[in-house]
Amino acid sequence: MKPARKKVLLVDDEPIVCERLRPALEKIGFYVESYTDGQKAVDRVMEESFDVLVTDLKMQKPDGLEVMEFVRQHSPATKVIIITGFATVDTAVETLKSGAVDFIAKPFKIRNLCDLIVKLTSEEAG
């Protein structure tokens, strides 16, 4: 039997980021939902559990840290990756401390993120 598709939730207020990532992830077999509004993503997390959350850091309320905090409370199994254009070592350390499994600075290579998500979701599988 074919295993169920892993689910990825993308949040970035820059539409281009969702537009580029979504098809790339779908192409390698993920189910993807993407939102440019953090609140909508939070609403979806109430209804559905995702394997991975990829979120931008700096957004209108709720921002990336808040989305992550919410997800960690309501869906602790979801792994969180932070992507941001405001990357410093301090932000990296802070986000990792607050529970993100990884932190990627923009611009990044699509493949790096895809590989990371593949790895995170296959670890979970065993």
Partner: protein, 1002 residues
Amino acid sequence: MGVAPALRALLARRRQGNVDQLRETLNRFRALVEENDHVLELIADAGEKLGGEYVFDSKYLRDLAAELKDAAHAVVTNLNAISQDRYPDLLEALAKIDDAVGAALECRLVVPEAPFVVSLEDVGTEQLEVVGAKMARLGEVRNRLGFTVPEGFVVTTQACREFLEAAGVGEAVEVLRAHFMQGGETLEEESRRIREAILGARVPRSIVRAIRRELGRLVRSGDGEPLLAVRSSAVDEDGELSFAGQYETVLGVPPEGVVDAYRTVVASMYAPGVMRYRRLHTIPPGCGYMAVGILRMVPARASGVIYSLDPTAPERNTLVVSAARGLGKLVVEGGASVDRVEMSRDPAYHVVARRVAHKERMFVAVSGGGAVAEPVPDAERDAPAVSDEELNELAGSARRIEQYMKAAQDIEWAFDHEGRLFVLQARPLRMAVVSEPRGRDLSDIVRRYPVLMRGRGEVACRGIGSGPVCLVTDPEQLPAEVPPGAVLVVRAATPRIGGMLAGASAVLTDLGSATGHFAAVARDLRLPTIVDTGLATRILTGGTEVTVDAEENVVYEGRVEELLRYQLSRASSFEDAAEFRTLRRMLRRIAPLRLRDPTSPAFSAANCTTYHDVIRFAHEKAICELVEIGWVSPPAGVHYVRRLELPVPLDLILVDLGGGFHVEAGSTTATPEDLTSRPLVPVLEELTTGGAWETAPASMDLEGFMSSATRPMPLTGAQAARPEQNLAFVSGEYLHLSLRLGYHFNIVDTYLGNSPADNYIYFRFAGGVTELTRRSRRAALLKRILEGHGFVAEGRGDLVVGRIKGLDADAMVERLRMVGRLIGFTRQLDIHMRNDRLVDEYVDRFMSGRPFSSATLSADEEPEDKGDSEMSTSTEVLVLDDEPMVCERLKEHLERKGYRIEVFTESQKAVDRLAEKRFDVVITDLKMQGPDGLEVLRFVRDSGFGTQVIVITGYGTMDAAREAEYSGAFEFITKPFSSKALETTVRKAARKARKAKERTQR
């Protein structure tokens, strides 16, 4: 105090002041070079972003513009500081470029400043906001792909905005828009009023004048009064949703009717059909502008439409042609009977099905305006409108455009009476049936295809392409052209091959980089490209059908139709996203280098139109200024300026900053024996005696650089200011060496004192601007050699920069000798680097210390490295990570490979252990309690055992990673990493450590 001592004191102070000033100038020059490099790196990086591998957003574009601006300004500020503000006009040129880049950046939502009309010759998709989607694509088809399109010009969105303002419809449009947003249904009345207001308004005189000027040009270029097609080209047209056929197109317009037709087309923005369409697809009015194409009508013998893929049944994999006699009006508007031909999509393009219609009427353009139906002669009514040969040409053209646009195409075409094919319009085809496999299924399906290569090399341009392999192993024997649709597989990505890419469907190379020139060419052609695979030419055989997925970086055997269809059916390709178009627009004002020849009168500040021009100009002039400091206005009292007498024809001028050489009063020359500059001596020894000059006659060819670089030079100011001057600023510990050998610049900036912490070497090699063919090879070679000697080396485009610091005196001298050899070596590179396969051998030869050996290359006399397995058993590795899990995993894995491992979870203990025992390789985490990774790294480095350090880091710690590189880490590995990659790195590090050890024992 007497007069004489006071004077002496004053003079002494002046002397000191002059030395300080000279130092300041040199510091400025170094800063200029650094910023210059920074600009080049930013340009190369930005070019790489166009390949689609990276996700970037508008913030990146803003940051890029700001960073470039700062760096370019710093270059100019430093030049003006060096030259006492001799180049104020460079600041003006820079300000214009800043504005242009800023405008390109802001272009997304505003109508860009543009002339009212632009010629089709100057149009591409980066001007989408100026000329509208339809004309942008037509320009691209003409200017990039070389198809014949009708002559003409575009009345821009800027003109439209001006016209609408003059018509005074702004307020009405706002009202309409508000009603639309509130869900109002009865918009007919409002849009009708706007339409009528536009139709009743005068087109502003300045626009009319601009149109007439271009029309005059069109009339003069042909015989007789042309008939024109006036076509809509809206900015929001054919984007996410197609407005196909909703806007007006007026055919057969005589020149005097163009302005009226223009008004009609602009007014059609508010046609009733358009409003219904907007309602249907929820596209509010009032957010786009209408550009209008004015094109000479093709006197068509036959015309029609071709779909590059049957939109109703994509799985059939066929092209569909509709053809009528005369103008294509019948085909486009539907209704009448036209020929319909279905053809296979593979290059044979055989006809699968054909229906020839009985044609009673055809449309022809008539002078005086419009198109009228004429009867088709009886005898021709049942003949096909186009021949099989023409069908073949149509199919090939459609596939070519499709491949470039990366989406199935809907193309309007015409053949004139001479049989010439014209492309009238090309746009992405809307698929009626979404039949492509969904993501999940796709990844399952492609798994069934045999994989020839996976994860090798770097994607230079994303996309999917398929075809038979065209294998080129010997770059000297390139085929005349790549067969259309072939996958080109070559050893090296050289610009020469760039010229033959046009027909290829994908490219794979063994060598090369995603920031190289070749990659830029491939991106320009939107060719799916993977470079630096290492083995493509060895594992792929000519003629084999393969599919290149330059998204997942996989090469499949055979044609993976599912993947190809997946690509064609995507709504748009990444190149069409606003951010990509913005970046392309920005780069046009950033990257091209137009100032190439420093001896040309056009080489002036006022002619700088891009940042690249500015930094090139500033760099050239800065070197001239430095030369003049030495000769024209030598600092009073300290102008120990001498020409160095050398046994080789290298004309080198020395400027002493204190303690650099012994000075004989009254002499204008110095000899090598006079030199006391610690860093200069070893560089010169190798440069002049290493054999670099023995083949001088051979190097005189091609670029004739020796004739310019080494010509003995009269010691006059004017001559000395020539840019070919070789110059060394020296003190006892410091050397700044600036050599221009032909078209290359070598700069060595180094300090060699008593404290290792102060010591450094900066080596910079910049390739020339006119010598194209061998750049990428040369850059790769230099980088490898520098890295092989422990430098942190970066190569971007033409530029290679190597840095190393913190070495003790002996290690410094060794590296400086290497640098001397390397400069001599680069002098010869162009002669010898004709063959790509020599790269490896050249690196080996250089590393073996005999770069100028005359032995044939393939006969390598050096004993080979010991086998890896043998080596690993004697390799001592220390692993430090505060996660015990990580340590255990690494230990287990590396021990299995035969390494001897000691693990530590506390960094202090590891440091203690490192103090008492020599390890070959240290693997350390970056963030830890106690001494962190960087401190461990420094400790290891300072201990001087040649131990190599591999730093493990997460993605987010780039700055620290950069610092680690700078402090001389062998490599850093980002988490997550594969054990295989780690093992490879450990093996390489161990080899290097062993070599370092052997050197110290020697």
